[in-house]
C-alpha cells in the first residue's frame, strides 16, 4: 500500500437518507482525508447524492470508503454526476469556453474533436446550460 497522497473522485448514493452521521466530519477526523465537495442533492424521496474529491493516502481512502459503505451508502467510483453522451455530441465546441477546468476540451485543433475527461470535471453544470444538442446531462 502506497503512502503517497492521492485524490479520488467519488459519487455517493444514499438510497434512503437514514444516516444521521456527520460523514464528512468523520472522514476528515478519523481517516485524515481532505474533502472537496462538488455537488450534493437530497431529493424529496429522501434519496441523496454527494459528489466529492477525497485526498489522502491510498490506505486512508480505502478505510474511509469502507466506513461510508458500512452506513449503507453506495459508492460509485466510475460514474460521476455529469454524463457526456458521445453520440449525441455534435462536436460543436460551444461548451469548451464555458468549461472552467478543460474537462471538455479540443486537444487537436486540426480535427476540432471534443474530448471529455471525467476526472477533470468539477460538476459546475455550465456545459448543460450551453449545450444546444442536449449531449450533457446530470445524473441527479
Amino acid at each position: 500500500m502506497s503512502d503517497e497522497i492521492q485524490t479520488k473522485k467519488l459519487m455517493l448514493y444514499f438510497p434512503e437518507c437514514e444516516t444521521e452521521k456527520p460523514i464528512v466530519y468523520h472522514l476528515v477526523k478519523d481517516y485524515d482525508l481532505i474533502i472537496n465537495i462538488f455537488r450534493a442533492r437530497v431529493t424529496p424521496e429522501d434519496e441523496g447524492y454527494l459528489v466529492l474529491d477525497v485526498t489522502g493516502t491510498e490506505e486512508h481512502i480505502l478505510q474511509g470508503s469502507e466506513y461510508i459503505r458500512s452506513l449503507g451508502i453506495r459508492i460509485d467510483g466510475v460514474n460521476k454526476g455529469l454524463i457526456w453522451d458521445k453520440d449525441k455530441c455534435a462536436q460543436c465546441g460551444c461548451c469548451v469556453p464555458h468549461c472552467p477546468t478543460n474537462a471538455l476540451s479540443i486537444p487537436d485543433r486540426r480535427t476540432m474533436e471534443i474530448v471529455f475527461n471525467t476526472e477533470e470535471c468539477i460538476e459546475c453544470l455550465s456545459c448543460i446550460k450551453v449545450c444546444p444538442f442536449g449531449a450533457v446531462s446530470s445524473l441527479f
Binding site: A90, C94, P97, T111, M112, F133
Partner: protein, 394 residues
C-alpha cells in the same frame, strides 16, 4: 479546361481524383497549381451547423374517411396546414405548444420543430393531432394517431436559407450576460460565438458561384438533394478579401432533399437557451475543378478567411451596422481571438469535425461513382444586397 460531362465520365468509370477542401490546400502547395488542376477533378466542401430557415413538407396520405386538415400538431408542435388537404409544413423553429418561451428568462426551449424533424429522420414515432371543419367529400373532423417517417407518403426537407457564405462573430460588450443564437455570451467580451466551417465551407470555396447554382446536386444530410434557388437574404454585394472571399454574411443557398433518405447523425434539433429552437443540418457540395482559377479558389485557408466581430448586446439588435473588428478562422478555431489587446475565448456553433466527416463521405460517394455532378440550370445572382424592412407611421 474540363467540362462537367468529362468529370462525370471519370466519376462513372471510378477514375476521378477527388480531394476534400482541406486536403487540396497541401496538395496544391506540393504540386503547383497547374499540375494539380490537371490531376484533380473534384473538391468536396461541407458544413454542419444550425440552419434556421429550415422545415419540411409532409404529405400524410389520406385517412379513411378523408379529411381536409385545417390545423395540425406533430408531437404538439404546430405544423402549418394552409397548403392543401393533407400537406403540412413543419417549421424548424416552431415551439412545442405551451412552451413558456422566455417568460421565465432564460427559457430552456427543450423541444420544437427541429426536434420533430430529428425524430422523423431517426425513424422514431411522432404523434399527429389534426382538426378540420369537415366538408361533403372530406367528412373527418378530428384525427389522432402515431406515425414514423415510413408511414408518411412524403417528407421533403426545404431550407430556404442554408450554407451562409460567412457569418458574424458575436460578442457582448454589456455588463450582463446575454443569450443569442450564437450561444451564451458573457459580459465584457469574455467569450465570442461563431458559425462557419471556414476553409471547408461550400460558398467560401466558390465565392462567385461559378459552379454552384440553381439545380446543383448537393449532399443534404446523406440524401442527394439540390439547390432550388438562391437562399433568402442572399446578398453577395459585400466586402470581400483574398480570392474574393466575403468577410460578412453574403450568399446563401435554398436547398431541398428527401428526408426519408437522410442520416440521423446530420439532422439534429437545437435548443438555444434564452433564444429558441433551431435545426442543425449537414451539407456537402462538390466543386468541379474546371480550370486553374477554380482550383485556386478552393485553396482558401482558415487564416485568410476573415469574419466580422459584432456586438450582440447593442449594435446587432439595434441594426447600427457597427463592426468592432475582424478576425480569421484560424484564430477562431485556435480557441481564442484577440481584439484591441483583449483575449476573448471562442466557441463555435457549427461543427468542424462533422464538416470534415461530411466532406470525406461525399468524397467517397464521388470516388465510387455514386454521386454525379450537375451543371446548374441557372446561376445565382452575383449582385444583390439586403433590404431592411420598411416601417411606415400609421
Amino acid at each position: 479546361m474540363k467540362s462537367i460531362e468529362q468529370i462525370n465520365e471519370k466519376i462513372s468509370s471510378g477514375k476521378a481524383v477527388v480531394l476534400t477542401a482541406e486536403e487540396i490546400i497541401d496538395y496544391v502547395d506540393e504540386k503547383g497549381l497547374e499540375q494539380a488542376a490537371k490531376e484533380v477533378d473534384v473538391v468536396t466542401t461541407a458544413t454542419f451547423g444550425p440552419m434556421c430557415s429550415s422545415g419540411c413538407f409532409i404529405n400524410l396520405g389520406h385517412s379513411k374517411p378523408k379529411m381536409r386538415i385545417t390545423e395540425a400538431w406533430l408531437d404538439d408542435v404546430s405544423a402549418y396546414a394552409g397548403v392543401a388537404a393533407v400537406d403540412l409544413f413543419l417549421g424548424a423553429t416552431q415551439l412545442q405548444a405551451n412552451d413558456p418561451a422566455n417568460r421565465d428568462y432564460p427559457g430552456d426551449f427543450r423541444f420544437g420543430g427541429g426536434h420533430v424533424m430529428e425524430k422523423l429522420v431517426a425513424g422514431e414515432e411522432v404523434q399527429l393531432f389534426a382538426l378540420s371543419y369537415g366538408t361533403d367529400e372530406y367528412p373527418l373532423k378530428e384525427l389522432r394517431t402515431t406515425l414514423t417517417i415510413n408511414d408518411l407518403n412524403q417528407c421533403i426537407m426545404v431550407n430556404p436559407r442554408n450554407c451562409y457564405q460567412n457569418y458574424n462573430v458575436a460578442v457582448n460588450t454589456s455588463d450582463k450576460p446575454i443569450h443569442t443564437y450564437l450561444g451564451y455570451l458573457k459580459p465584457h467580451m469574455k467569450n465570442c460565438g461563431y458559425s462557419s466551417a471556414g476553409q471547408l465551407s461550400p460558398l467560401l470555396n466558390d465565392p462567385f458561384y461559378r459552379t454552384i447554382g440553381v439545380g446543383t446536386r448537393v449532399w443534404l444530410a446523406g440524401a442527394q438533394g439540390h439547390v432550388y434557388s438562391e437562399g433568402t437574404q442572399h446578398s453577395p454585394t459585400c466586402e470581400r478579401g483574398l480570392l474574393g472571399v466575403p468577410s460578412e454574411g453574403a450568399g446563401t443557398l435554398a436547398l431541398t432533399g428527401d428526408m426519408k433518405k437522410m442520416l440521423p447523425e446530420f439532422v439534429r434539433g437545437v435548443s438555444l437557451k434564452g433564444y429558441g429552437i433551431s435545426l442543425s443540418v449537414g451539407v456537402g457540395i462538390p466543386i468541379p475543378i474546371l480550370d486553374e482559377q477554380m482550383l485556386l479558389q478552393t485553396t482558401i485557408r482558415d487564416r485568410d478567411i476573415m469574419a466580422q466581430v459584432i456586438d450582440y448586446a447593442s449594435d446587432y439588435p439595434q441594426r447600427n451596422g457597427r463592426v468592432l473588428g475582424s478576425v480569421s478562422y484560424e484564430e477562431l478555431k485556435s480557441g481564442s481571438i484577440s481584439l484591441d489587446g483583449q483575449k476573448i475565448e471562442a466557441g463555435g456553433l457549427s461543427s468542424y469535425s462533422k464538416a470534415r466527416k461530411i466532406a470525406a463521405l461525399l468524397q467517397d460517394e464521388i470516388k465510387t461513382g455514386r454521386f454525379l455532378l450537375t451543371q446548374p440550370i441557372a446561376p445565382l445572382p452575383v449582385e444583390q444586397s439586403m433590404k431592411p424592412l420598411k416601417e411606415s407611421s400609421l
